[in-house]
Subunit: 342 residues, 4 copies
Amino acid sequence: MLHFECDYASGAHPQVLERLVRTNLEESSGYGEDAYCGQAARLIQALCRAPQAQVHFLVGGTQANLTVIAAALRPHQGVISAQSGHISDHETGAIEATGHKVLTLAAEGGKLSARQIEALCRDHRADPCAVHKVQPGMIYLAHPTEFGLVYSRAELEAIRAVADQYRLTVFLDGARLACGLAASDVTLPDLARLCDAFTIGGTKAGTLFGEAMVLTRDRLQEDFRYLIKQRGGMLAKGRLLGVQFQALLEDGLYQRIGRQEVDQAMRLQAAFQDKGWPLLYPSPTNQQFPILPDTALEALQRKYSVSWMGKPDAGHTAVRFCTSWSTREEDVDQLIQDITDV
Amino acid sequence: MLHFECDYASGAHPQVLERLVRTNLEESSGYGEDAYCGQAARLIQALCRAPQAQVHFLVGGTQANLTVIAAALRPHQGVISAQSGHISDHETGAIEATGHKVLTLAAEGGKLSARQIEALCRDHRADPCAVHKVQPGMIYLAHPTEFGLVYSRAELEAIRAVADQYRLTVFLDGARLACGLAASDVTLPDLARLCDAFTIGGTKAGTLFGEAMVLTRDRLQEDFRYLIKQRGGMLAKGRLLGVQFQALLEDGLYQRIGRQEVDQAMRLQAAFQDKGWPLLYPSPTNQQFPILPDTALEALQRKYSVSWMGKPDAGHTAVRFCTSWSTREEDVDQLIQDITDV
Amino acid sequence: MLHFECDYASGAHPQVLERLVRTNLEESSGYGEDAYCGQAARLIQALCRAPQAQVHFLVGGTQANLTVIAAALRPHQGVISAQSGHISDHETGAIEATGHKVLTLAAEGGKLSARQIEALCRDHRADPCAVHKVQPGMIYLAHPTEFGLVYSRAELEAIRAVADQYRLTVFLDGARLACGLAASDVTLPDLARLCDAFTIGGTKAGTLFGEAMVLTRDRLQEDFRYLIKQRGGMLAKGRLLGVQFQALLEDGLYQRIGRQEVDQAMRLQAAFQDKGWPLLYPSPTNQQFPILPDTALEALQRKYSVSWMGKPDAGHTAVRFCTSWSTREEDVDQLIQDITDV
Amino acid sequence: MLHFECDYASGAHPQVLERLVRTNLEESSGYGEDAYCGQAARLIQALCRAPQAQVHFLVGGTQANLTVIAAALRPHQGVISAQSGHISDHETGAIEATGHKVLTLAAEGGKLSARQIEALCRDHRADPCAVHKVQPGMIYLAHPTEFGLVYSRAELEAIRAVADQYRLTVFLDGARLACGLAASDVTLPDLARLCDAFTIGGTKAGTLFGEAMVLTRDRLQEDFRYLIKQRGGMLAKGRLLGVQFQALLEDGLYQRIGRQEVDQAMRLQAAFQDKGWPLLYPSPTNQQFPILPDTALEALQRKYSVSWMGKPDAGHTAVRFCTSWSTREEDVDQLIQDITDV
C-alpha cells in the first residue's frame, strides 16, 4: 500500500533524525533553555528578519493554538475562524476549554477575507446589545488552509489593516507553512510583519513533532513561557525541538521540502484534470481534493490509501491525496500512470 | 562538567533510539491508532495483569496530570495533593486552569497518609457550610514523590480504603516509577489494583518523551481520547510513543534502568552518610538531597552540576544529586571519591 | 411613552411585592435553606407531579443556564442549541467560559427538531475522527424560543426519544414559561417527565428576579448546590426567592399572568394581520414581530417604545412588541386603535 | 429566638424597601442602563471623590469577586489572599473555576501585611523555576476581614507600594465596608486612591442584595460590562440595584448603619470582657468572637442564635455574634444583661 492519505505517516526526515542521533547523549538544560533552542530561535529571527521576535518551540499544533489564543484574549473575547478552521472543527473544543468562543465565518475552502472580518467587527461595534455578545479579539488564519488554499501578501495586508482598525490579534497557523511559502508570494518576513503570532510547522515538514511559535509583538511575548508550561506544551527534554528545527531550517531543507511537496501535488493535480476529474478546492499545495467516479476510486484504493472527504453524488466521491517530505518520485509516477489508466 | 542536577538532561536510551531509527520510514496511522501503540498497550496490560485496563500514551507529565484530573472531577471538586506535589507547585497552575482547586496538605517529603486524607474528607462532610467549600474528589500521589520518597503497598492499600469510603478517584503520578518499583514493595499489578489511574513515566527512564496513562476503571476510560485531544496531549505521529514504550518495556529494560538508578543513588547516599552529611529527606530512590558545608559544595561544583534546594543555615546548603539511565558507573565512582576527599 | 419593548421593564407584580414587604423584617437562614424556599419547592414538585424532583432557586437566567450546563457536561462535551439560542448569542460566551462549546443548528425561529438533533448525533458517532470533535452531550431548548415559538408535547416527546438514544441531557429554558404553558399543550408534569432539567422563569412573569430550576434526574441533582454557589447564583438572603415564587405559584397567579400576556399579544397580532403587516415569526406568545412600513413605525414610536429587529427592505422594519404582566388593557386598546389608524 | 448568628437574616432596611415599593411600577431600561443606576454611580463617584471611577452594580459578592478577578488576571497569574479569605475558603472554588489559583498566605484573623506580600513576590521573581509556578498578579483584601479586623490607612498605603513595585492589582472586598469605614481611619476616597477595585457591600448593610463595584483604573474598566454579563452578575431589572444603592447612600444611611452596628458590637465586646471571656480575634467591627464556657453558651442559646466557630478546649466554645442594621437596641440590652447574669 502506498500512503497518500496524510502527511504525517512516517517519522523524521533523515537529516533531522541524524541530528537527533548525533546529539542524543549530550547533556543539556531542560525546558527549552538549551543552546540548540537558542540557535534555532536566532535562525528563525534571521529568516524572518525580525530580531525583536520571540521564538518558542511547542510539541504540537493543538497546544500551540490553544496556548497563543489563551495568551492573547481577555475572557469576554473570541477568536474569528473559518467554520472549517482547525480550531473550530478538529480540536475537540480545545479553545472553548480555555474559555473562549470560536466566532465562525462561512469561508469557501477555509479562507477568510478582510471584508467579512470587517463586517463582523463593524456589526459587533454597532450592536446596541454588544455586551451580551462575545467580542471579536483575534483572527485565526491557516496558511495553507485545511483545504490547501493560500493567502496572497495583498490579502494578508488587507486583513492586517482590519485587525489594526479593530484592535485584533492576528495569528496564522503554519502547520503546513512549508507548502504555504512554496505556493504563495508570502515570505517569512511578510509573516513577521503582518502577524502578531504565527507558527512554523515541523510535524508535516520533516520533524518527529514540534511547532515553532513566532511572537512579533510585546504584548504576547510577556510571560509566554508561563503559558506554555501551564498548558502542557513545554517539553522536559526541550532541546529535541531546537535540534530538529535547526536541522530543518539551517540550510534551506524546509524550503526544499515545501517545494518538493508542492511540485509532486501539482503533477497529481494535472493528472486529475487531464482525466476530467473536478477538484473540490483549487488547492495549490500538498493536499489535493479530486472528485472521482466510485469505480475509479475503488480500483485505486487497492494500491493507494487516501482520505475520504464526502460524496457529492451517488456515483462519485471526493477524497484527499497528500504528498509529504517522504513521498517518493517513483510512487507519484506510478500513481499518475494508474490514474491515466483507470 | 558531569551532570547530576536532573534526570532528563540527555536523549533516549540507545535501545529506544535504535528502535525509533529502525522504524523511522515506516508509515502508519496517526494519533495513537497504530500497531506499535497497540502492542505497547497490551504489553502494559500484561505487566499489570490488568486486561481490562486502558492504556493511553501522552507526550508529557503536566499534560497527563491535567488531562486525567479534568476527566475525573466534576466542576465543584478538587484534588488532594501534598503541598509540594508537582500539580500544586510546579505546573504553573495547570490544574486551576482546568477549573479545579488543588486541596493541599502539609506532607513531609511530599508523602500523604491515609489518615490525613481521611481527616480532610471527614471534616468536609461534617461541615455545615460544605457547599461553600471545594469538595474533595480525587487523590494525587507521586511514587516516588518529588523528594524521592516511596509508598509501601500497605500504605497504598490504606489510601485506597479511604478513597472507597469517600468515593475519591486515586491517581498516582509515576514520572519516576522505574525507581518507585525498584525501591518499594509496590508492583505494577498492585498499582492496577489500587489506583483508578496511574502513569508509567518514560522521560526520566529512557524515552525522548512520553507518559503511559493506565486507566483501570470504566468511568475514567469512557471517552478518554477526546480529552487527550482537547488538552493537546495527542501526538500526530503517535506511534513514536508506542515504539518507545515497547522498546522500554518488552524485555525488562525499564526495570533494569530503575534498578541501576537506585543502586547508584544508594552508593551516593552511603558516601554522604560516611561523610557525616545529613539528608534533607531519606530518599531510597534516584534523587538524593544531602546538606553540605558550603566549602565542600563549592569544590564539588567545579566538576559536578547539581540542583540547589535551600540554605538551612549560613554555612550549609541542601542540594539535589540525581542519577539517571545515562549516569556512568565511572562518574559515580569519581564523585564518591571526590566526596570522600573534599 | 408606553412600553412594549420588553417584558422586564417594571418591578414585581403587586401580589409578589406585597409578600416581600410583609415578610421583610422576618429573620431566616440564608442561602436558600429557609422555610419559604422549602415551601415554594414543594409547591413546584406538586404542580409538576414530581415529588422526586429537586427545585433550586437562582438569581438570573444566564446563571441558571451556565450552572446547569456546567453540571451536566463532561469537558469534551458540548450543548446543542439553535443558532439564535440565548446561550449561543446573548450571554457573552458564558457557556464557553465554563469550557463548553455550543453546537449550533440553524433553526427557524429558534426551534429545534428531533430530526436535526438526531442527524447531528448520528453524524458524530459515524465520524472516524469523532474524538477530534466536540461530543454532543446536551440539548438546550427554549419554550417559548427567543422568537416566541413553542414546542408541542409531541415535539418534546420526539426530542426526548433522541436524547435517550444518544444519552443527551435535555434542558429547557423556561424564561418565559408562563407564556409557553398558556400557548401550547405542554404542561408542567410533561416538562418534568420529558426534561432532565428546566427552569420556571420569574423575572418575566412578575418577580423582581429569579428562576426556579427543576432537576428531575439523580445525576444532575447530586451536589447541585455546590455548583450554584461556585457560579455565583446563590443569594445570601435566599428566602427572597422562595417568598416570590410562593406568591407567584400558590394560587395560579403564574398561569393567569401567562394567559393575560398571551391574550393581549394575540389581540395585537390580529391587529397587525388586519393591517396586512406580515410577521417575522408566527409567535403564539407574548412577543410579536410585525414588519411595518417605516412611516407607520415612525408614527407609532412617538407614543410606543418597541425593540428593533432588522430591516427586511428599504421601506420596512421588523420590530418586537412585548406584553407583560404589567401591560394594561387600556394601553393595548389604544395601541390597536393607533395601529388601525396609522 | 433573637438572631445574632449572621448579618443577612432579615430583608431590606425600611428606607431601602420603601424606595423599591415607590418605584415598583415605573418602567425603565434593563441591565443597569437606567437612570437610577446612573444616579447611584455618580453618588458613589462623589463620595469617593473619584470622578474617573467606573461604578457597576452586581447581584452578589461571589459574583463580584470572581468577575473582577477574571477581569484582572492573565491565565498564568494568581491572586494573593489570606488562607481564611472568602475567595479561598468560602466560595466553592469559584476563583479556580475561572482558571486562577488562589495563592494563600497564613494571616492571623485574615489580615495580610505588605511585608508578607512583598516576600512572596520577591521569592517568585528570584525563583529560577518561576515559569513553573503561578505568578502573583493581584491582591485580595477584605476590609473588614472575615474575622472582623480592619486595615489602617497606613497599612493599605504600604500594600499599595508593594503592589506598584510588583505590578499587582489591588482589590478590596467591602462586603461589610459600612463597618470598615466606621471602625478604621480609611475613607472612601482613600479606597479610591489605594485600590484598583473595591466593592461597597449592600447585602449586609440594608439592601436585599447587591454589591457596588468601584473600578478606579483604566485597564480594569475596559469592557467590564461584558464580563459582568458573561459571569451571570447582570440583573435584567438592573434598576433594582441602583434604586437600593441610591436609597442607602444618598443621605448617609450607609454610614449610620455601619456606625450603629459597630456601636452595638462594642457594647457586646465590653460585656464579654467584663465577664472575662477572651476573644478569638480583637474585632472592632460588627462580628464578635468570644470564647465562652459551654455552660454559659448552652444557657444563652435558649434565647439567642449564634454561629459556631470551634472548640479551643473541652469546656469552652468560640462563637460568633453579629449585629446588623436590623438589630434592635433593646435586644442588645437584653443580651448584655443575660451575659452578665449567666
